[in-house]
Symmetry: C2
Subunit: 217 residues, 2 copies
């Protein structure tokens, strides 16, 4: 694992975390105005989204009722609707926020001065470490995207395919191997119950090592 970042180093170089995304969402939907109000809006948005993640992970987003969310967040039933237009739009807001923020930033981890092997390692570690920092977001989007309305489902797939193409290019346009690497990386958040006792750097090392066998030549 020489000359590449580990998880600890990643957290210092990555500008994205849960609070950052919440702040951007709050800024987008509750434009400037008063400072005290902005802080309050951020707090409320935070508890709403955090509670949504917990409920969706245990009983599923579709089974989660607004009354569940009201009880879990502490906000009143009607008050929730100051932060989204409908239950469905809440899911869309979360999915859009992750896609915009995460998958625009990840490709900036590489540049053309690096070897393909180095770029591959940066993308893999970047993806795994970011999916740990934003694990509830990644898990929610993975699980709930499949029954979003068609345009949003298509957009989620296109985001995934775009990242996969990035990897495929490094492998000499080998999309099958690129799919394999995607599956390996995503397993960290999709099946996280398996990895409770696994160190994330060990996991990333292992995926990177396997991915080297996918390089051409």
């Amino acid at each position: 694992m020489p000359n590449c970042f580990n998880f600890r180093e990643f957290t210092t170089l990555c500008p994205l975390d849960h609070d950052t995304i919440i702040a951007r969402l709050a800024a987008k939907h509750f434009s400037t105005s008063n400072e005290r109000r902005r802080v309050k809006a951020e707090q409320n948005l935070n508890v709403i989204i955090t509670a949504t993640f917990e409920l969706a992970a245990t009983i599923g987003f579709a089974r989660m009722s607004m009354r569940d969310l009201h009880k879990a967040s502490g906000l009143s039933l009607g008050g929730l609707y100051n932060y989204f237009d409908s239950k469905e739009s809440l899911a869309l807001m979360i999915a859009d926020a992750l896609h915009l923020v995460a998958f625009e930033w990840l490709p900036t981890l590489t540049d053309e001065t690096m070897t393909h092997e180095q770029q591959l390692e940066h993308l893999i570690r970047g993806h795994i470490y970011l999916s740990e920092t934003l694990r509830p977001w990644f898990y929610f989007v993975f699980m709930e995207s499949k029954n979003l309305p068609e345009p949003n489902k298509a957009s989620a797939r296109s985001v995934e395919l775009r990242f996969q193409s990035l990897i495929a290019t490094l492998l000499g346009e080998d999309n099958l191997h690129a799919s394999h690497i995607m599956a390996l990386m995503q397993d960290w958040h999709v099946k996280h119950w398996k990895y409770r006792s696994v160190n994330i750097d060990d996991f990333a090392d292992s995926v990177v090592a396997l991915s080297r066998h996918c390089l051409p030549g």
Copy 2:
């Protein structure tokens, strides 16, 4: 790919397919009695489960209403309840049937006379090919298990871990690499929209080749 089965050969040697599982379910819930009735019960169970797979794949099982299922299956609203006790028990029936039938049979593909490398290949191809034959079952269980009641969720995880242990043993108790191989195999049904134009034997070849790098020594 010498001395191991491909998908075509697999379909001739595997005793399990969609109709087999339906027949077992029908036999279990509609004991002997009349022959004509048994056939009718099998047909109805078939359309119910097939319609459930389609609806769950598009809008999700939780969003699927009994009226949706009634329209899609052609059975009356009340008539559905001759085949299960509640909506939830329908999901449980499907999950239990797959677990019982598939994961008890898969381990019979190997025996101790084979090398570890051969056993590994048999298990991997067996899993991938079976998940193709029973793709709607595998996809449904993968997607819906996570929000089943706790005992059933735990049982689904234990079934998965049991199969993973089988692989880990072949790798010298390397559970991390065994997890990787599970993730690679499952990608075939979890992200099948990616593999529309991929030949299943090519896919299995690729996973087997990667898995060889996980063998010790």
